[in-house]
Symmetry: D3
Subunit: 334 residues, 6 copies
C-alpha cells in the first residue's frame, strides 16, 4: 500500500512574467503556486505516494484557488484551513546564462503567517501517516508557524512517524524576534533525517566550519543529537543560470555515500529543485533498502526538476529510475 | 497652453483572469494598474492635458514597473516616491449579465498606506498646476494618507488652484481609527467642485436624505460650505453587468443641469468609469464655458470608458465630443 | 452536514478554438473537460455539496489529467477507473448571433464506452450518498454504460437514495443495437425526479404529444410510474446564439409551478446550461422546503451558467440566491 | 461543376491589438490578411465555388506568407506575382458601442501599388472563369492598378464572363493624379452587375441625388450604360459599433426587390461585411434563378460575417440558407 | 522545371502543451499537423519542388482544416479524400535534457486507417510525378493502407518513377494481423532508394546483425533486391533531449559515403527530423550529381529541422546549402 | 547628479513571430520597438542615467504608441517630433543553432526618413546634456537624417559635449545618392569616441586592412583625426545562433586594453547587443576612471543583453558589475 507523507508550510501564489521577460516587460503573469514543503508533497504524490499538506489560506476565492492547485496535483485538501485575508505570494523573473533570476516576496501578514498552534490537531492529521517533512523556511515566517512546526515534529516523534527536515533557512527572513539559531536546532534535533550542509550546520548549531568536510560536521551533529540517523546534502555547481551540476551525498553514521554528478545543460526552471531532491530522498529511503540507491534516486529527481516549469516536480518514478540507472539521453517515448 | 492637473492616491497592480474566466479557472493574470485618482490623471492626459500623479510605491522592481505604467500613459513621474516593500493590489474577476464582477483587495500595509505628510512638499508639487483632484478612497487608506490629502487641499487653496473631490467612500475601508464622517467633510468643504450623491451627502455630512432630491442636498451643502461652487452627480442604472445607463447632473448654485442619458449596451470593462466621469468633468469645466457642455462631456467620457479594457480611459477628445454631439453610431474611422 | 451527490457518465476533453474563431482559423485549442453528469456534480460541489463522479478514463497521462480536472473542481476521484486507450473528446466552435456553435464528437471507442458493470461496486460507491443523478446521454454510449447506469439506479433505489434523471437523449447517438425507447423508460421509471419535456415523454414513452401541455404528459407519466414524484422541465427561447430566455417548470403531482423567465442578453458559453439547471434543482430540492424556491434556484443557476466559460457552473450559492431573489443587476462585488 | 470566380486587388496584412485593446495597450498584434476582392474570393470558396485571386506581393518571406493565407483559405495561388519590397498593411483597433473602430493604412509604395498591366496575361487568367469581380478600392491605389483592372474587365467582356463591380471608393485614397470620377465610370459601365448606392451614383456619375430614391438612380444608370443588368445596394443602420441592421436591395430593370432586414445585435468583427454581401450576391445570382433569393442569400451572408473574426466570411452554404430561410436562432449544431 | 514528389500516408493533428509544460499542466494545446510522408512532401515544397500528398481525412470541419494545413504549406490538395469521422491525432509533451518527450497516439479507427485501394487511382495521381516516397509507418496502420502503399509502389515502378522508402517501423504498431516482416520487405524491394539501418535490415529482412557494419548489410540487401540502388542511413547520437549529433551515410553499391557530423546543441523540436533527412535526400539526389553532396544536403536539412517548431522543415535551399558548405554560425540575415 | 545622454535616430516597430516560429507559422506578432541609438539611450537610463532620444514618428496612434514605449523605458519624450504617415518597422524571425535569424526591414519612406535639419533645434536639445551618441545607421537612412546628425555632432562639439559614434554601417542601406564613404568620415572625425573595427576603418576611411591589427588602424585613425580620443571595438565569435563569445577592446592612444572574453551559451535575443555594448561603454567611461573597467563594464553589459528579450538592455548596474567582477553564475537573487 502507498506510503503517506504529511507536510506543513506556506504555499504562495507565484507570479512570473512569460518566458524570459523582465518585470518591466510584463503585461501578464503566469500563475502557479509553490512552497518548499508542498512542493515535496506534490512531488511525492507524482511518485505514487499518498500525501496531504497542512497550510492556511485566506478565506476568499484566492485561497480556494490555491487549495484547488493542491487538489489538482493529487494532494488531499482536508487539512487546509482558512482565515484572514492575504495570500502569500512571490514574483519570479527568470534569468538565463549570466543574468540571475530575481525573486520578490510578499508574504508578511499572510494568512499562513497568522497561524496558531490551536488551529491544528496534529494527532488527527498524522493518524495514518508514515512520514512528516518540514523545512527551515516555515519557522522563519512567524512564531505561530514555528510553534506549529515544533508541535508537529513532537507529535510525529510520539507516534513513531519518521521526520525529515530540510533545515537551511535564510537569516534575513527572521523578523519576529527570534533568530534561526534559537529555533532551528530545537526542531532539527528531533528529526530522523536532516538535509543540510557544512555551512548550514555551522550557522545553525555553531560548530564545524562552513568550508570544512561535510562528513565531519555530520558525524558531530549525529553524535550530539542521536535521534538523527542520516545527514544529507545536495551540492550544486552553478556554471550559469542555464547550466548547473548536481550531486547528492549522505552520511548515515557509517558510510559517506555519493551519487553521480548530473549535468543539467539547459535549465527550464530552477525553482523547487531542492524540494525535488527532498522528495526523491523520502521516496528513495522508503522504497530502496540501501542508501546508495536512495541518494541516486534523490539526485536524479532533483536533476529532472530543472526541466519542469513551475515549483513542483511532476515526473514519474519511471523517469527518475531511468535517469538514475544512467540513461541521460532523454530519448522520446512513444 | 495645456492645463495641468495634479492627483494624489494609491495605484494598485490589477490582476485579472483572462476574458470572463473565474478565479478558479485562471492559469495567468492580465496585469494593468489602476487607482481612482491616477485614472483621472491619465484620462486627462489622453484628453491633451498635462498631468502628474503623486503616489508612493515599494522600492523594488514592482514599484518601478508601476511607475513605468504611469509614464507610458503620459504622466510625469517626478513626484513618485519609493519606500517599504508591498505593492497594493486588487484582483478582478469580470462578470457578465447576472453574474457580478468580483474584486478582492490586498492593500493593507502597502507602501502607499505608509505615506507620511513629511514625504511630500506640496508647494513644489503644485507649483505650476491648474487643478488638484482627490477621491474619498485616499483618506480611507491610512491616517498618513488622509493627512497628506488634507495638506494638498489646503496648499492648493492657498495657491489658488481649483480643487475637486470625488468624495464617496466605502465605510468598510476605514480601519485606522477614524470614520469617514470625521474626515471627509473636512476635506470636502475646501473643494471647489464636489462629486457625490444625495446618499453621499447624507452619509458624510449627516443632512438630507439618501432618497431625497439631489438638488436640495446640493444646495444645502453649498450653503453650509461656501467654497463649494458646483455639486456634481453621476447616476447609473444597472440593467445587468453587461448593460448600464449613465447620466450626469450638475448643480451650480443656480441651475440644475442634466446630460442626455447614455445607454451602454455591451460593456467591456466597467471599472474606472466613475474616474472617467471625473476626468471628463475636469476637462469640460476647464475647456467649455457652460456647465451643460461640461456635464455632457463628462457623461460621454464616462460612457466611452465602459468600452475600454483596464482602469483608465484612453479615448481622445474627438471620441468624446463626437458622442457628446449625439453620434452614438461608433462608425469605423479610416 | 453537506449532502453528498454521486453522478455517473463520460467526461470528455473539450477542445475549442480561442474566442469566436472558427475551426479553420485555429492554431491552438483551449482545453477544458465536460460531460453532462460530471458537470452536475461539479456545479453542486461549488454550491457546497460533497460530490463524487464515477467514470472511466484511458490509462495514460491524458486520463490522469482529466481526473485532475475533476479533483481541482472539488470532486472526489476515488471512483475513477482506468483502462484502454482513447479519451472521449468533443470539439466546440463557438457561434454568435445568427451563427450556430458547432460541435464535433469523437467518442466512439473511448475508454468510457468500454465500461462494464463488473467494474463498479455500486454499493460501495453509494454508501454515504444522498442523491444519484444520471442523464440520457450515458445509456446511449454503449450497452455496458447503459447496464452500469441501470445497476446504479437499482442499487440507489434499494439503498433509499434519491435518484434524478435528465432523460432527454439524441436518437442519432444510439448505435449499439438498442433504441432509446427500449432503454430510457426502464431507467426513468425508477427515478424519483425526472427532467424532461412533452416531446421527451412522447419520444421515449410514446404517449402525450410533443406540442401538448407539459402538465398533462407529466401527470400521465407519474400515473404510470408511481416512483416518479416530480417531473421538471426547462424551457429555452433561443432569440439568437447570443441571447436566450430560460424558465423552469415543475409538476409535483399537485401543482404546476413556474419560475420567473430569465433573460440572458449576452451569452458567454451556452454549453452545460442544462446541467447547471439540474444541479440547481438537486440543490434546491435538498435545501428548500418548497418547489417554488427549488425551481427558482434551478432556473437562476441555469441562467448564471450562460456567463461562465467552460462546461461547468462555477458560481456560488450567494450568486444564485441573489439572482433568484430578483437582483438581475450583476452589480460589482468588492 | 463548381463555378469559378476571379478577383483582383491588393491583399494587406491586418494587424490588430488583441480583443478590444487600444493601440496604446498592445504588446502584440493578431495577424490575418484581407482586401476587398480577395475577401470576396475566399468567401465564395467557402460557399463551394472555385476561386483564384490575382495580386502582387513583395518578393520575400512576408509576401510568401500572405500567399499561404490565400492558399489555406482554398484559393488558387497560381496568379500571385512577386516583386519589390513592401507589404501593404492596415492596423485595426476594434471599437464597441459608442467607441469607433480605428483603421490606419500603410499601403503607399506597396508591391501591389507598383503593379503594371504587362505583368498579367488576363486571357490566361480568365480562361476557365465564370465571373470576374472588382471593387472601387483597386483603381484608387495607383494608375497601374487601375489600368490592370480596366484590362481585366475588358478581357472578361470579350470572353463573355460576367463582371461585377462594387464601385464605391473613398475620395481621400485617390492620390496619383486621377479622380474617382475620371476612372470609376469607365470601369463600371462595362459591368453586368454594379453594387453601389444613390450616393455612389451621384458621386461617381454625377447624376441623381445622394438622398434620392435608389430605384430612380439605378434605372438611370442602366439606361445610360445598357451593359449593366442589375444595380444592387446594401443598406446598413449603425445603431452602435456593436449593433447593426442590414438589408439588401436589387433593381433589375424591372423590379425593385428587397431582402428582410437582419439585426446583428452582438457584432464580433464588422470588417469585410460588404465583401461578404458581394460574395453572397455572386453565389446567389449563379445558383438561384430569381433575384429575391439571390438578394436574401447575399444579405444573410453579410449578416453572418459580422460574427466571424477576420476580414473573410468563413461560413458555409448551410449556414447562409438556414438564416435566409428565417432561422435566426443560431441554435447549436451537434 | 520543378520536380514533382508524391507522398502517401496519414496526417495527424498534433496537440502539444505550450513550451515545456507537462500534460498535467496544460490548459491549452498548440495545434499543428504532421505525418512522416506529408512532412517529407512539405519540406520538399519549401525546397522549391512541386509536391502533392495523398491521404484521407474525416468528412467534417476538422478534416477540412487538416487539408488547409497542407495547402498552406504549398502542397496540392487535389488527392485528399474524405470519409468516416475520426481524425488521427497525437499528443506531444516536449522534454528537455534528461526528461524525455512523451507521445500519446490516438489513431485507431481514424479515417485514414479505413482507406481502401479502390479509393485511389494511382495512375492518375502519379501522372506527372518524378518521385514517390513512403515510410514504414503507413503499412503498419491497416491492411487497406498497406495495400494502397503497395499499389502506389508498383504503379510507380511501372511508370518509371523513382521510389524511396524510409522503411523503419515500430513493431508495436502492427495490430491488424500482419507483422512488419511479412509486409515491409515486399514494399522495400520495389524501391530505388531505401532509408534504414543495420538493425532495420536485420528486423525486417532477417539477415545481417543489428550491431554489424551497415555497409555489409546494405550490400547484401542490394544483392538480394537489385532494384535498390542506394541504401541510406542517418545516425543520431542522443546526448540529451536538448543536444543531438547527426550524420548521414550512403551506400550506393560502390562507395560508402558519409556527411560531416552535425552538432545540434539547443534543440527546439526534434519531431520530424528523420523526415527532414528524407526530404533533403530526395532533393539532394534530384539536384546534385554526386552522392557526397546529396548526403551532405540531407544531413544539413535534418540538422536544421531540430530548430524549427512543428513536424515539418520550413527552411529554404539557401539555409541548407549554407550549412552544408560549413557555415554553422547561424549569423543573422538582414 | 545623474549624467544626461542624448541620442538621435530612427525607432522602428519590431514585429516577431512568437518563440522560434518562422514567418510562415505566425498568426500573431510580438510587438516591441527598437533602433540602435534609442537602444543605447534606454540601456543607459536603466543604468541610472538621464536620457532623451530625438526622433520623428508618424502623426497617428502608432507614432504615439512608439513614443509611449520610450517613455515607459524612462526616456524623456520632449524631443520626439511627429509628421507624415509611415512607421518604420522591421520583422524578426528568431533563429537557433545553425538556423539564422532573419530580418526584413520596411523603413523606406518612414516618418523618420523624411526628417529635415530645420525640424530640430540642437542647442535646445543638448542644453543640459553630457554626452551625444549616434550610429552609422542614421546617416544611411536619408540625406535629411545625415544632415541632422552632422548638425548634432557639430553643435555638441561647440557646446563641449562628448560625442561617441558607433560608425559601422551597411552599404546596402545607402540609397539616396551618397555612399557611406562620403558621409561617415565627416561625422566620425568630430567624435571623441569611435566604435568600429579594422574592417570598418578600412571600409569607411580607406586605410588599414580588414584583416590587419586593430591597434594599428586605430592609431592611424587617431593620428589623422585628433579629436578622436579612443577607438573601441567589440569582437564576436559566432559559434552558432545560440552561442556567442564577446570581447571588448579599447585603444586609447597609449594602451591597448582588452576585457575578458565572455561566453554566452544560451542566447535569448541577440538583437541590440552592440547597442548594449555602446551603452555600457558610455556609462563606463563616465563612471570609472580607467579604461580597463570601462571596457569590462561595456563587455559585461553586452553579454547580459543576449539574455534579455527585445532590442534593449534592461539590466541594472548591479547586474553588470557583478558579471564584470567575475560572477558568471547567474545565481538566483531573493
Amino acid at each position: 500500500m502507498a506510503k503517506k507523507l504529511i507536510t506543513f508550510g506556506e504555499v504562495m501564489m507565484r507570479l512570473s512574467p512569460p518566458g524570459y521577460s523582465k518585470f518591466s516587460q510584463a503585461s501578464s503573469f503566469e500563475l502557479v503556486y509553490g512552497g518548499g514543503e508542498a512542493n515535496v508533497a506534490i512531488s511525492c504524490a507524482y511518485l505514487g505516494m499518498k500525501a496531504a499538506h497542512v497550510t492556511r489560506f485566506p478565506d476568499n476565492a484566492l485561497g480556494k484557488a490555491a487549495t484547488q492547485f493542491l487538489r489538482k496535483h493529487w494532494l488531499s485538501s482536508e487539512h487546509v484551513i482558512y482565515g484572514d485575508k492575504m495570500m502569500g505570494k512571490y514574483f519570479l523573473e527568470k534569468g538565463a546564462v549570466h543574468r540571475p533570476s530575481e525573486v520578490i516576496y510578499e508574504r508578511e501578514g499572510s494568512a499562513f503567517s497568522l497561524i496558531e498552534p490551536s488551529m491544528i490537531d496534529w494527532e488527527d492529521v498524522l493518524k495514518d501517516a508514515d512520514w512528516f517533512h518540514w523545512t527551515g523556511i516555515t519557522p522563519a515566517i512567524s512564531e505561530g508557524a514555528a510553534m506549529c512546526c515544533l508541535d508537529a515534529i513532537k507529535t510525529a516523534n510520539k507516534m513513531g512517524i519518521t521526520v525529515s527536515g530540510d533545515i537551511n533557512s535564510r537569516s534575513n527572513m527572521w523578523k519576529y524576534g527570534k533568530t534561526m539559531q534559537e529555533i532551528i536546532p530545537e526542531l532539527a534535533k528531533n528529526c530522523d533525517i536532516v538535509i543540510t550542509s557544512s555551512r548550514g550546520i555551522q550557522e545553525m548549531f555553531g560548530f564545524g566550519e562552513s568550508g570544512s568536510k561535510f562528513q565531519e560536521s555530520a558525524r558531530e551533529l549525529m553524535k550530539r543529537h542521536p535521534r538523527i540517523k542520516k545527514v544529507v546534502r545536495k551540492t550544486r555547481r552553478t556554471i550559469s543560470a542555464s547550466h548547473h551540476q548536481i550531486q547528492g551525498k549522505i552520511w548515515n553514521g557509517k558510510d559517506y555515500i555519493k551519487s553521480e554528478m548530473l549535468n543539467i545543460t539547459h535549465i527550464i526552471d530552477r525553482v523547487g529543485t531542492g524540494d525535488a531532491f527532498a522528495s526523491g530522498l523520502i521516496y528513495g529511503l522508503l522504497h530502496y533498502d540501501n542508501d546508495q540507491q536512495a541518494i541516486s534516486f534523490a539526485t536524479a529527481a532533483c536533476a529532472l526538476k530543472h526541466t519542469v516549469p513551475g515549483d513542483v516536480n511532476l515526473v514519474s518514478v519511471d523517469n527518475v529510475t531511468s535517469l538514475m540507472e544512467g540513461d541521460t539521453s532523454g530519448a522520446i517515448k512513444r
